[in-house]
Structures are given as C-alpha cells and as structure tokens.
Amino acid sequence: MSSSKKSSDGKSSEIEEAVASLTMPFNKILLTSSDGESFEIDEAVARKFQIIAHMIEDDCAGKAIPIDNVTGDILSKIIEYAKKHVVEPDEDEDEEAKKKLDSWDAKFVEKLDLETIFKIILAANYLNFEGLLGFASQTVADYIKDKTPEEVREIFNIENDFTPEEEEAIRKENAWTFNG
C-alpha cells in the first residue's frame, strides 16, 4: 500500500508526501507519550517524524507507537506544528501561503518559554523532525544573538570557567564585535 521507494531527489519526495496525504487520509496512527497521553493522528502527519516514517515503510508500525522520550505536553505541541506543516508551501509559487504559515509559526513560538523550546528541540531531534528542529533552533539563535555572555550563561545554565585574565584576553580579540 505505502510506497517503500526512498527517493534521493528532495522535490519528488515532497510530491510523494503530498500524494500520500491525499490518498491515505483515513490511515490513523496512535502515538503514546512517556506519561501515557495518547494522540491519534493522520499517517501523513506522522510521516513528518522520520523515525515513524521509516517504521511505516519497514512495516513495523503497529496501530499504536510508544514515544518513550517525550512527555504529553511536548508531544501535543509537536503534533500541532506538524499538522500545520504537512505540506510546505513553495516560496516562489505561493508567497501568500508562505507568509501566512510564517505568521502562524511566529505566534506558535511566542507563547512558549525557553525551557519548553529546549524540550521541543530535544524531542524533534529524537523524532527526527527536521523542519521543527531547524525552526526551534533558529528561534533560540535569534533570541540569544543580541545577548551578552553573562546573559547567555544564565539562559543555558553555564558556569564561567575562564579566569578574568583569560576572559579579558578574548574580549580584546573580539573588540570589533562590541561596537555598532
């Protein structure tokens, strides 16, 4: 039923995904989080998670798949994002749709605190959901890019293991980054 051909060409796998979402609307997959919450989602959405897509292709996905490393609250957020991104609009062909989706993405992440975003990064990595991993990473990158080293240490809970002399030496090397 499901095609098990793995395409090397990115474009045609997008088409396959789109076709899959049209021809298999009624295939449901049940995901269970580590704390026992269950989510029933369309196969097309589940396929956004590469580890699940591989299980489906290798025919070892049962009706219910346990996701041991992810709690229910995080999994529900990830599924919410995946549902919106089942088919990615092409920037050149549908600028309108891309803008709308970007706007939704911005609102989605606005409501989340940093700890949740870190958990999402960990989970997206585990599930192999590249799109969300990239987006969440970019969100954190944008957040820290104007911060000082002190602020960043707070955020990442990092200890400063430089001596004051070492730190001063590095700052001198980077003098150009502190103006403008």
């Binding site: 605190d113 809970n157 590095i170």
Partner: protein, 360 residues
C-alpha cells in the same frame, strides 16, 4: 518567547548546541566566545565553521570598506519595499602583526570570508577578520603594487591557494605571468604566462564562486578588443575562456559587475551595454557551463525579491565612488565616511569562522 521564572535545567547535547549556534550570526557568535571554554572551542572548530557558513544567509548585506589603510565593516539595509536603502559603518577590523602592532592595509581581495591583503610595506597576508587570524605569505619575488590576486579553495587537495597575476606591459603587448601559492606546501610555483588576454585594472577584482574565480577580461587581438569571461579553477589551476551573454557581443560595455545570487550562489552579471547613444542595463544568471567554454546565460527580470544583488562599484570615475548599487531594488546607496581620503575600496563580504591553518 515568554520569560520563565526559574532557570532552565535542560542540558543540551553537543550536536543540538551546534544546531542552535550554527544559526547565530558570526558577529554575535564571536562575541559569545567568552561564555565558556566549551563554547570558545566550538566557535573555533573547523567542522562547526563549515556548518555555520552553510547557514549564513549569503545575500550580502555586509560590505567591507578599505580606506586610509583601515578596514571597516559596513552594514547595508535594503529591505524590500523600503523607499531608501542605507549603509552605515558598524565596526572596524584591526589587522595586527604578531607583536600586536596595527598594520596598514592598501588593498584587499575577498573570498568566502577570507581576505588577501597587501599591506603598506608590501607584504601579503591572508586574514580572517572575524577571528583575527592571519597567515603571512612569503614572497618569491617582491610584490609589485600592480599585481592582481585571488584567493580560492581547492577541495580536491583540501587547501587554500592564492593566485598572483603579474603584468608586464610594453608598447605592444601585455604579458600576464601567473603563479600559485598553496597553503599545504607553503610555496609558490609558476603556472605559465600569456599575452592572449589581459585584465584591466578596474576589473582586477574577480568574483569567487565555489572554487573558481571569474573576471571580465579582454582578448589581446586587434581592437575592438573582445570581452569574455575568464575563469580560474583552483583545483585544476587552469584558466578558461567562457562566453558572455550573446546580447553583449560586439557592444560597448559601459559598466559591468560580476556578483552571485542570494540563494543558489550562482554567478551573475549586471551590465550596461549598447552602441551609439542607446544603452540599456540587464542582469543575467549563468545557468550552465559546457566544457567547450560555452556558458548559458539567462536574462532575468530584476523585480523579484530573490534576485537582489549588492554590487560594489569600484570604477575610478569621480562621482561613482562610495556607491553601492542594489540591483533588483534599483537603488544606489551613498556611503558616508568622515575621512578625506583617496577613494575607498568596497568589497561585498560574508563572514566566516574558518580557521586559517598555520604553516611552518
């Protein structure tokens, strides 16, 4: 993002820290080196630099200005739709020798975040201004102020190389002698000389794209000298003659600039050409190159956002200095700087964290 009351206690493994940091702009990342020893090591790691560079938005909104022997970083703002574009100096880079003395820079060439600089006392140095790293290059012969240079990466031998073109001009001919320095052997070697073509002074700055540098050059046969696209491949160390868009053939070329497209890093050219009194401007993207040297060019309409190019006009014409042309937005930006000096040199710039391997 919401602010959280308590500290985040999530520990991110290295590969996920890399996912985040490789998306932080170079300037911010270099400033965050002093966060911790782990972060400092990561920023200086070669594999991380590669991944980071791949994520860097390649549309040049950064320009380097070389004036009064100093190098400045200029940020160009040309948001699609805004009426005017603007450029401002945001930082100054300091080239220092091993004694931390500031060095005067006369001339510079840029490739993928690295600069080849000729200093006031006629030394040659490769410099990554982001990390401050330098590698001084021993000359075989003394450097001539009229030499041209290009820096490129040979991915077959995995090393950087410098091309030097030395011109010998007499009444009848222009001879161009070429030699290549490679970082692996730390030495120069001759690769030949030619009188068949030559590159004019104001076109001496080539455009580096993925291992090859391109120039607009002229055939030496009787006038009217024919323009063509000259390329030098750093892997094969060979020059090749490539065709220009057909529209330009036998036309007068008033102004032409080579650049790259934002997304796919394809070579493109902006040119003003024509004959008699009628001139027009066009932009072409190089789409395909045959081994015969025939290059396919595709003429593009420049009103699509993706096709914005930033071109630095280095013509030695008095009113056209300090001008950045944002083709595609049809905007010209005048760069203000306080110095009363000779014409500044402008280079489009993409920061890179790549380390210059130290030689012997």
């Amino acid at each position: 993002m919401k602010r959280t009351e308590r500290r985040s206690i999530i520990y991110l493994p290295e590969d996920l820290l890399v996912e985040i940091l490789s998306r932080v702009p170079a300037k911010s990342l270099v400033r965050l080196r002093s966060t911790s020893k782990r972060w400092n090591a990561l920023v200086k790691d070669g594999r991380f630099a590669k991944k980071h560079y791949a994520n860097t938005p390649k549309h040049s909104s950064l320009v380097l200005m070389v004036t009064n022997f100093r190098v400045y970083l200029v940020s160009v703002d040309y948001l699609h739709g805004k009426v005017t574009a603007s450029a401002k100096i945001t930082s100054q880079f300091n080239l220092q020798d091993h004694l931390s003395k500031q060095i005067d820079v006369c001339n510079a060439y840029h490739s993928d975040g690295l600069l080849v600089c000729i200093t006031k006392d006629n030394s040659l140095v490769v410099w990554n201004p982001c990390l401050g790293q330098t590698r001084w290059i021993q000359a075989r012969n003394s450097y001539n102020k009229n030499d041209y240079y290009a820096l490129g990466y040979d991915d077959k031998s995995s090393c950087y190389k410098i091309l030097r073109m030395h011109r010998v001009v007499d009444d009848i001919t222009v001879e161009t002698e070429s030699e290549v320095y490679d970082f692996a052997s730390n030495s120069w070697r001759d690769i030949g000389s030619t009188t068949e073509w030559f590159i004019q002074q104001h076109r001496s700055r080539g455009m580096y794209v993925k291992g090859t540098t391109y120039w607009l050059a002229l055939m030496s046969e009787e006038p009217p000298f024919d323009h063509f696209l000259l390329s030098f491949d750093f892997s094969t160390e060979r020059f090749q003659s490539l065709s220009l868009p057909l529209d330009i053939n036998h036309q007068t070329l008033l102004g032409a600039v080579l650049s790259v497209t934002k997304e796919e890093q394809k070579l493109c050219m902006l040119a003003t050409y024509g004959s008699d009194e009628r001139f027009k401007s066009d932009v072409w993207i190089a789409t395909k190159m045959e081994s015969t040297g025939a290059m396919s060019w595709s003429n593009v309409s420049v009103d699509h956002e993706n096709k914005v190019l930033l071109c630095c006009n280095n013509l030695r014409v008095s009113n056209y200095n300090n001008i950045l042309h944002i083709a595609g937005e049809d905007k010209y930006v005048h760069l203000d700087h306080d110095e009363e000096s000779k014409r500044p040199l402008l280079l489009t710039y993409v920061p890179s964290l790549v380390q210059i391997q130290q030689g012997i």
